[in-house]
C-alpha cells in the first residue's frame, strides 16, 4: 500500500505570517494536530499542537481577548520538515515517523504539497498491511463481496500446488466488490492468473502485457 492510498489530500495550511492564535483556532476547529506552513506554494515549515504548547507563554500573551497578536507562526514552526512521496510504501513512512518521533509527514511531489499522512492514517491501514516472509509474488483479485469467494480463489491456487504466504482483503472501489491480496510462493503467476480470469474474476495485479503500459 502506498502513501497516496492513505493520505489526506485536502490539506489545511497556514503561511509563515499567520498568527499563532489563528493557527491554534484552525487546529481546534478542524480537529487536527499539524499544519504545514507554505510560502509562495513551497513547504517551508510545519507547526504542531505540541509546538504551540511549548510556546505556551507566547500563546497566553497573544491570544487573550483584546491582546495584540504579535507572534507569527514562523517564530514557532519547525523548519526541518521530513516529507513523504505519494509512491512511498506506507511502511517506509511509518519507519520515518517512528524513528524521528514525529506525528505526520507532509506529502510532496513535483515540489508541491499534495497531501499529508498522519499516525492515525497509518494505524488505520495497519490492519491492511501484509508482511513478506518467504520469496513470493503479489496477486490481487477483485471478487463480489459475498461468502465463499476467498475459498474459491484459494482452490484455484491450490490446484497449482503453490503455497500462500499471506492474504488480506481490502475494500474495492466498486460497491459490492472487494479485493483479495495474496503473496504467493511462485515467481510466475501467469497460469494461476489465467485460471482465475477464466473463472470470471478480475485480476488487478499483475497487469497483462497489454494492460496499463
Amino acid at each position: 500500500m502506498l502513501v497516496e492510498d492513505i493520505m489526506t489530500r485536502d490539506v489545511e495550511t497556514v503561511s509563515p505570517s499567520t498568527n499563532i492564535c489563528d493557527a491554534l483556532a484552525i487546529m481546534e476547529e478542524r480537529r487536527i494536530r499539524h499544519l504545514p506552513v507554505l510560502a509562495g506554494g513551497a513547504l517551508v515549515g510545519i507547526v504542531s499542537e505540541g509546538d504551540l504548547k511549548e510556546a505556551q507563554s507566547l500563546v497566553i500573551r497573544d491570544c487573550r481577548e483584546g491582546a495584540e497578536r504579535r507572534t507569527p507562526v514562523e517564530v514557532v514552526m519547525r523548519r526541518r520538515v521530513f516529507t513523504a512521496h505519494p509512491l512511498d510504501p506506507i511502511e517506509e513512512a511509518a519507519l520515518v515517523m517512528y524513528r524521528r518521533r514525529i506525528g505526520c509527514l507532509p506529502v510532496v511531489s513535483g515540489g508541491e504539497l499534495v497531501g499529508i499522512v498522519t499516525q492515525t492514517d497509518l494505524i488505520r491501514s495497519l490492519v491492511e498491511l501484509m508482511g513478506v516472509n518467504r520469496s513470493s509474488s503479489r496477486l490481487e483479485v477483485q471478487v463480489p463481496d459475498r461468502p465463499g469467494m476467498l475459498a474459491q480463489i484459494a482452490e484455484l491456487i491450490r490446484k497449482h500446488g503453490v503455497n500462500i504466504s499471506s492474504v488480506l482483503t481490502l475494500p474495492a472501489e466498486e460497491a459490492g466488490e472487494k479485493k483479495l491480496v495474496f503473496r504467493l510462493q511462485t515467481i510466475d503467476l501467469r497460469r494461476i492468473a489465467g485460471d482465475i480470469r477464466e473463472a470470471g474474476y478480475r485480476i488487478t495485479w499483475p497487469p497483462t502485457l497489454d494492460e496499463t503500459r
Binding site: 512521496h85 520469496s135 513470493s136 509474488s137 497449482h160 511462485t186 515467481i187 497460469r191 502485457l209
Partner: protein, 384 residues
C-alpha cells in the same frame, strides 16, 4: 590481449530444462548462440567448454543435505520425501531426471569462466548459461537449483583471496547471492531490480545493507514497476561508479538477466534493448578502470526467448569481445527460427521505441528519491 574474452558454452546446457511448458526455456541459449554466429560475432576460438562442478564445489555454498536431496531426486526424476522443504517439486522448480548433472554443469560453466579470468588466461569471460541468482544454501527458488554465481564467488575468494564486486541487473532482486554473502565485507553485492512490493521474491529494499562486518556491502536499488530506459540508466550511472570505486574490487562478477524488457511476460519493468546495450558497456568500463579489466559475466532471467533474449545477450557478448552489433538481424537467423516462433521475430537489434508509460514523471521522481537514499547510505558508511 587486453580485451581477450571467452565464451563459456556447451550445447549440453540444454539439459537444464524443466519441460516445454515451463517458462525457463533452454532453447534461449541456442537462439542466442545461433544469432551471434549468424552476425559473425562469435568464433569457434572464443568458445571454452565448461567442466561440471563437483559436489565439493557445490558445497562451497550449498548444504550437504540439499545437494544430496537434489541428487536423489535427480536419479529417479521424482521429488524424494522431504524435497518440498527444499523448494523442489513445485511448479517453479519441478524435478526432472538428470537435474543434478544439468545444474552442476551450469555451475561448472560459471566456475570455468571465473577460473579463466582469475588465472589471467582471459580478461573477460561470459558464462551464458549461468545467472541462477535465487537459489539459497538449501533452497531451490525461482527456477534456480544451484547458485552458480555464489559458488563461483566463494571459489574466487578462497583460491585467489580476491575482493569481488557482484552486480545484478536482472528485473528480480538477486536475493540468493545477497543472503549468501550478507555478512561478508569481502563481497559487495549490488542489485538493481523492480521493487519487491509486488514482484518476486519480495525483497531487495534499500535498507537491506548487510549485517555485522558486512554492513554496507549489500546495495539495493528497487525501482518502480513500469520503469523505462532513461530512469533505469540514470539509476545505474548514478549508483554503480561511486559504489564500485568505494569498494575497489579485484574482480567484477555481473548477472545479466534481461527480464526487465517491456516484452518480458514475468515482470513489470518497461525497458528496451537500449538498457541491455548500456549495462555491459558500463560494467566493461568499470572493470578496466578499477580491476585491470577482470570481469566475469553470467546470463540470468529472460522469458521472452524469441524477441528479447537473443538480442539483449548479443549486446552483452559484443561488448565483452569489443565487436560491434549489426543493426539488422541476419535473414538466415530469422528464416531458420520463424517457423518455430509463436511471435513475429524482430528485424532489428534495437527497439523502435515504445509509447511512454502513464505515470512516467512520478516514476522517475520516485526512482531518483530511491537512488538518493541508496547513495546517502554509502556516505554514512564512509564516515563510519
Amino acid at each position: 590481449m587486453k580485451h581477450r574474452a571467452a565464451f563459456v558454452y556447451s550445447p549440453a546446457y540444454a539439459a537444464y530444462s524443466f519441460g516445454t511448458e515451463h517458462p525457463f526455456n533452454a532453447r534461449r541459449l541456442e537462439l542466442t548462440v545461433d544469432l551471434l554466429q549468424s552476425m559473425g560475432l562469435l568464433y569457434p576460438s572464443d568458445v571454452e567448454e565448461p567442466r561440471p562442478a563437483t559436489p565439493e564445489q557445490l558445497e562451497l555454498k550449498h548444504s550437504k543435505q540439499y545437494v544430496a536431496t537434489v541428487e536423489a531426486s535427480s536419479r529417479t526424476g521424482r521429488p524424494v520425501p522431504g524435497a518440498a522443504e527444499y523448494g523442489l517439486g513445485t511448479e517453479d522448480n519441478p524435478v526432472f531426471p538428470g537435474m543434478h548433472e544439468a545444474a552442476s554443469l551450469i555451475v561448472g560453466g560459471t566456475l570455468t569462466a571465473a577460473e579463466l579470468v582469475a588465472s589471467g588466461r582471459y580478461t573477460h569471460a561470459l558464462s551464458i548459461g549461468g545467472g541462477l541468482h535465487h537459489a539459497g544454501a538449501d533452497t531451490a527458488s525461482g527456477f534456480c537449483i544451484y547458485n552458480d554465481i555464489a559458488v563461483a564467488i566463494e571459489h574466487l575468494k578462497r583460491s585467489y583471496g580476491v575482493r569481488v564486486a557482484y552486480i545484478d541487473t536482472d528485473a528480480h532482486h538477486g536475493d540468493g547471492v545477497q543472503w549468501l554473502f550478507y555478512s561478508d565485507p569481502e563481497v559487495l553485492t549490488v542489485s538493481v531490480h523492480e521493487t519487491g512490493r509486488y514482484l518476486f521474491p519480495g525483497t531487495g529494499y534499500v535498507e537491506e545493507r548487510g549485517a555485522g562486518a558486512g554492513y554496507g556491502y549489500s546495495v539495493n536499488v528497487p525501482l518502480e514497476a513500469f520503469t523505462e530506459d532513461d530512469s533505469f540508466i540514470e539509476a545505474l550511472e548514478k549508483v554503480l561508479p561511486p559504489v564500485l570505486e568505494d569498494f575497489r574490487p579485484d574482480i567484477i562478477v555481473s548477472q545479466h538477466g534481461c527480464d526487465g524488457h517491456r516484452l518480458d511476460p514475468l515482470t513489470d519493468l518497461c525497458l528496451s534493448i537500449r538498457s541491455y546495450a548500456l549495462v555491459p558497456r558500463l560494467i566493461h568500463e568499470l572493470a578496466h578502470a578499477l580491476c585491470d579489466g577482470r570481469w566475469v559475466a553470467v546470463g540470468g532471467g529472460g522469458y521472452n526467448i524469441w524477441s528479447v533474449v537473443p538480442r539483449a545477450w548479443a549486446y552483452l557478448w559484443a561488448s565483452m569481445a569489443e565487436r560491434s552489433v549489426p543493426e539488422v538481424i541476419p535473414h538466415n537467423w530469422s528464416a531458420k527460427w520463424a517457423p518455430r516462433s509463436p511471435v513475429p521475430l524482430p528485424q532489428r537489434v534495437t527497439d523502435e521505441g515504445f509509447p511512454p508509460v502513464r505515470r512516467r514523471r512520478e516514476i522517475e521522481e520516485k526512482n531518483r528519491i530511491t537512488v538518493a537514499r541508496v547513495l546517502g547510505g554509502l556516505v554514512r558508511r564512509r564516515q563510519g
